[in-house]
Symmetry: C2
C-alpha cells in the first residue's frame, strides 16, 4: 500500500514542513512513476510540470521524503534511485542491463542475523540485500 500524494502532503505538514509548489511537483512525479528513478531522471520529469525548479531542490526534497520513510532508495553503482516506499521493509532485484528494479519483501534474514550477531559481537541494526541479474526483456541480447 503506497502512500498517495495527499497522504504525503499531510505527513509533511504534520511534521512542520512547508508545502511548496516545488515539493508538490516532485511528489507528483514520484507518485506517478512506478519506477525507481535516479535524481537526475526525476528532475527531468519534474521540470515538465515546473520548469524553474532547481536540481538542488529535487535532491533536498528526496532527502526529506526519504528521512520521513516515504520513499525508498536503490543503490546502483554510483547512482541512486528513488520511488515511493511500499509499506515497510523491502529489497530490490536490479537488472544490470537496463536498470529496471523489482521489489520483494520476504528476506528471512533473522536467523542469519542472529548467528552473526552472536559470532561477531556486532549489534546489527539493518541490512542491505540486492539481487543482480537480467530482467526478462534483457536475457536474449548481448
Amino acid at each position: 500500500m503506497r502512500p498517495s500524494a495527499k497522504k504525503i502532503a499531510s505527513v509533511l505538514r504534520q511534521k512542520g514542513h512547508k508545502l511548496t509548489a516545488q515539493r508538490r511537483a516532485v511528489i507528483n512525479v514520484v507518485v506517478n512513476s512506478g519506477e525507481h528513478l535516479a535524481p537526475a531522471a526525476l528532475y527531468e520529469r519534474v521540470r515538465r510540470a515546473h520548469p524553474a525548479i532547481g536540481l538542488v531542490t529535487v535532491y533536498r526534497t528526496l532527502e526529506m521524503l526519504h528521512e520521513l520513510g516515504l520513499i525508498c532508495r536503490v543503490h546502483r553503482g554510483e547512482k541512486h534511485g528513488y520511488t515511493l516506499a511500499p509499506s515497510g521493509h523491502h529489497h530490490h532485484l536490479v537488472c544490470t542491463e537496463c536498470g529496471i528494479v523489482a521489489d520483494f519483501t520476504d528476506c528471512d534474514l533473522e536467523v542469519l542475523q542472529q548467528r552473526l550477531s552472536q559470532q561477531t559481537g556486532f549489534k546489527i541494526e539493518g541490512h542491505l540485500l540486492q539481487f543482480l541479474g537480467y530482467c526478462r526483456d534483457c536475457q536474449g541480447g548481448t
Copy 2:
C-alpha cells in the same frame, strides 16, 4: 586462505601483467592490512613505502587485482574499501560508527534466489548482502 604477496605476484606474471615497483608496493599494503581500506587510505599507506606513486596507479592496480579475484570490495556509501579476498564468495558486516568490516561466508540465499527468479522471470547472477550495525567497541558511546 588469503593469498600471499608472492602468490599474487605470480598470478600477475602468469596473466601477462608487468610487476612494477608500484604494484609491489600496493600489494604489500593490501597484504599487510587486515582491514578493508578505501582507495584513498590505501594510497596514504602505499606512499610511505613509495612516495612518488600516483593515486591513479593505486586505482588501476586495485581494479586489476579485483578483476583477477584477488581482492574483494566493500560498498560503504560512495566509498569503496578493498582487502585481500578470503577464498571465494563472502559478505560483510559493517560498523556504521567506525567503519570496521567483518567478513562472513554462509549466506544461504539460494532458496530465496530460486523463488525470486521464478516469480519475476529475472535471471539472477549475483547478490549484494551487507549487515549494518555497531561493532563491539562502538556500542557504548554516542
